[in-house]
Symmetry: C2
Subunit: 331 residues, 2 copies
């Protein structure tokens, strides 16, 4: 399969981004990656690609949208930016998937502007992986849709459930609605109307009702549905608390140890490798006609390699066909 | 000073709740606590109170609102509940403050029903303490006001700032608005209108604009303003991630150690004691005419003792006078 990668997107681009692509194609003999961005910068980074060089192409784009730029303004000022070029390749069916660690707002907005939505989908949403005591769950939407309607949230349940089943291998995933209390009458209008939709739908047996913030990491459900405003804040709060606690643990516990310090350091390293929100391999923008994986701005080689792998898995599972079928069946 | 304590509120009531009161009056010779609840259960718990017994009274209440009950229904069905009795004591000026670890919704709703608001305050809000890399910050509102208007959020900034200054001893506290990006045009209408209010106010020099979820624990500001829906979820997500990471650390790091395991266990114990969201001593409902401290449902002796101490500190600092003055001055 062929994937376009925004080689210029992310805090560390292009070096580690391109290297992530090299590693991904080394692992997957069927993968071809189109590196979108400044040819002069990308070309030398491929010098060491060796026998996978022929599965790495460059698609030159002269402009880069920075992390801070407002998408609407940036699209006008920078028509030849690497993000738009990625989306155009997908629209023209030249690639099956796109992956990028650049400006998230721009990644999403470009898909929305092109209206590259799957049949039946009202609004795509970003699904983030959340580590829990029971394995990975997904939280969506984490920022694509700040003013969702109940039917958008319901569709996130449908798409999230398919993702959890086929990518996370969770049979009959449970769906929870993030709210401020578990009682049925809790929360705002959006929550109440969304609950009603789930309860009257084919997903009613998977819907466990309201869940609270502290339930996420307990793993009470595999799919956590919320609006993009709350979801984005929750995702970043999780990252923030994780980083904070890791720092405190490093200082306090390591400070207390002597001879066994290296053992503790290795264990902490493993925890960070396994649970770090920066490393979880990218969040899919579910509901687009194609595959779009959005990576954390701080992504390096491993995160990009993972994200390209996730895109391939997504394609092989034919997730989009399943989503279209499920929505057409009134799911 | 005299404080009413809901002796029946919380997952472990009444034993550890009453014991917390005993410890608090032992520490503070000026404190008297009115234990509100079932006399038959409370009386025997005071047998060991010794020479502080005369500063512990019982106010009998026959009913208890459970953690799961809907407040509106509960008030109708249980007029003699301990939460309403606490509020009535404060309304009648028989106590200066109330403290409870019971049903948070009922604690808040009772104050709202009595309209026991400070002069100039439009809606009280709950302020939660958040541990950060720079010390404690406060997050408000965390659940009293799910549909706030911009002026409510602005008033949370005013009250939070006074709290941070006089209780947390933070000079010129910085105020941030929780949002999904730091750019000015980010977020929903509420965020934008609230930003405008802050920028045109006497607090404009303290207002640092939008902050993201991951900034909270970095301690970029001492006061974090948000609506009660987002704030409640964020607070509980923080608790959830903290508990989750502590479990993982316990398993992975402790599992890697041998001789120095006890040192690491002691260090982890210290971290939990210092940062555990369950132990931070209660969240004030700011803006009520009186003092109301809401404790975590899982509160035991130490949390209740801390909360009673916070109520006393709140009274001594004359926070309410400062809030009324600041709001009257257009703050």
């Amino acid at each position: 399969m062929r994937i376009a990668l925004d080689a210029m997107g992310g805090d560390f681009a292009p070096g580690p981004i391109v290297q992530g692509a090299v590693q991904a194609v080394q692992k997957d003999a069927d993968m071809q990656v189109v590196l979108v961005g400044d040819q002069a910068q990308i070309e030398p980074l491929l010098a060491s690609a060796g026998n996978v060089r022929d599965r790495l192409e460059i698609c030159h784009a002269t402009q880069v949208i920075t992390m801070e730029e407002s998408p609407a303004m940036a699209f006008r000022k920078k028509p030849d930016n690497s993000i738009s070029r990625c989306w155009q390749l997908m629209q023209q069916k030249k690639v099956e998937a796109i992956v990028g660690a650049g400006n998230t707002g721009a990644m999403v907005a470009c898909g929305f502007l092109l209206r590259l939505f799957l049949k039946g989908v009202k609004r795509p949403g970003i699904a983030a992986l959340m580590p829990t005591q029971q394995g990975l769950s997904i939280l969506l939407d984490v920022g694509a849709n700040v003013h969702p309607k109940p039917e958008h949230l319901y569709q996130y349940g449908v798409m999230g459930s398919i993702y959890a089943k086929h990518i996370l291998q969770r049979d009959k995933p449970r769906i929870g609605l993030l709210n401020i209390g578990s009682e049925e009458d809790k929360g705002n209008e959006l929550s109440k109307d969304t609950s009603d939709l789930f309860r009257a739908s084919p997903l009613k047996d998977q819907f466990i009702g309201n869940i609270e913030g502290r339930d996420i990491n307990k793993g009470v459900c595999e799919v956590i549905v919320t609006d993009g405003f709350v979801g984005n804040i929750v995702l970043k709060v999780c990252e923030g608390v994780f980083d904070f606690v890791m720092k405190v643990v490093g200082k306090e516990i390591f400070g207390a140890l002597k001879t066994e310090l290296p053992l503790a350091q290795m264990a902490l390293g493993n925890i960070i490798k396994r649970y770090d929100y920066h490393e979880l391999g990218g969040a899919p923008l579910l509901g687009v006609d194609g595959i779009c994986i959005i990576c954390h701005g701080s992504s390096k080689e491993r995160a990009i390699e993972n994200a390209l792998g996730v895109a391939a898995k997504h394609a092989h599972a034919k997730l989009n066909d399943l989503i279209v079928q499920e929505l057409a069946a009134g799911g």
